[in-house]
Symmetry: C2
Subunit: 201 residues, 2 copies
């Protein structure tokens, strides 16, 4: 804003809100005004929730999930089959797979993908801890659920190499046509994969 | 999420973030993960900024702007021409006009528009205080800058009636073609208004 029209505290709030993904400078102002209007119903509780999350959040030392306890809710859930470990790039992938609700398994969050260009090597990811987990003998299956990108697949190959020789089954997500997807909009790679992996009806 | 995969504090944070305009349930999760990753650079400062804004924010008793002081930054700015008052529906309109930077005037925030259907009458808006301000004798011009909607125009007419008899000039924003706008995409009302208000070159 050219001239100041409100207090520095509110301008600071707008500046910080603009750094939240999904909010730009314009929507940060709208969000700030909404928070001000819902001062006691939303801004107060959100400030407290953020403060509490800030103080309590930790990364699970076993699987890399974020939680307020360590080991995390997933690792300590004995109704899950802890012998099946789904390997994901990021915590957001863990959450996405849980929303699908298809598996009742444990997870392992790598924290990214191998990227020599960006200087991300194996030691920067939670790969050592995955191999250690698999070597302990309690893991029956490791499901590689990294993104179907070049970086993801490179990382998958590295992990498969590291797990070689251990007594675990290694699987990966199926490639194919997304449910609800239209063939016309899909790339050739996906269509080829879907054809190769065709199933009988 | 079907099963809990993280602590209740983090789920609470996601729930509250989803209520911020601009963020839905999916982007709230992404925002929460980003905040967790930027715990000390963003989540902590944002929690403090929200807490501080929550404690300090007030509505200016003179013009209806939101600020941390009362009267607000705009009302106490003696480099502004306080004898010109721009009447807007909402604080967001005040901020939008200030970004344009075209006027160095004072403001009056109505807090909405008249809406008999929704039970919003003149006493629910800051109209009485506007008339009082105009009656004090220090106001030379009142610029009606409400939205060009039916509700906005109804409210404008009511305000003009209330200001009748006072020694103030009443003006309104010009209608016309938006700068950068294409005629083909504009409605007939706007085009008619732009033709009627045509200017010599």
């Amino acid at each position: 804003m050219a001239k100041r029209v409100t207090g520095p505290e509110i301008e600071k709030l707008i500046q910080l809100l603009a750094k939240v993904p999904g909010l730009g400078p314009r929507s940060a102002r709208r969000a700030a005004l909404h928070l001000i209007k819902k001062k006691d119903q939303l801004m107060g509780p959100l400030a407290r929730a953020m403060g509490e999350a800030h103080d309590k959040v930790k990364v699970c030392s076993r699987c890399g999930n974020v939680d307020t306890i360590d080991p995390c809710t997933v690792c300590t859930d004995d109704r899950r089959d802890q012998s099946v470990v789904i390997v994901v790039e990021d915590v957001s992938d863990l959450w996405a797979l849980e929303r699908a609700g298809a598996m009742n398994a444990a997870y392992h969050v790598l924290g990214g993908t191998l990227s020599p260009l960006e200087g991300v090597g194996p030691e920067d990811l939670n790969i050592r801890t995955l191999v250690d987990r698999a070597a302990e003998g309690d893991v029956r299956e490791v499901i590689i659920a990294v993104n179907a990108t070049i970086e993801g697949q490179t990382t998958a190959h590295y992990i498969i190499d590291q797990l070689a020789g251990l007594d675990v089954m290694i699987t990966r997500l199926a490639h194919g046509v997304p449910v609800g997807g239209e063939l016309d909009y899909l790339d050739e790679g996906t269509l080829s994969a879907a054809l190769r992996a065709r199933t009988t009806i």
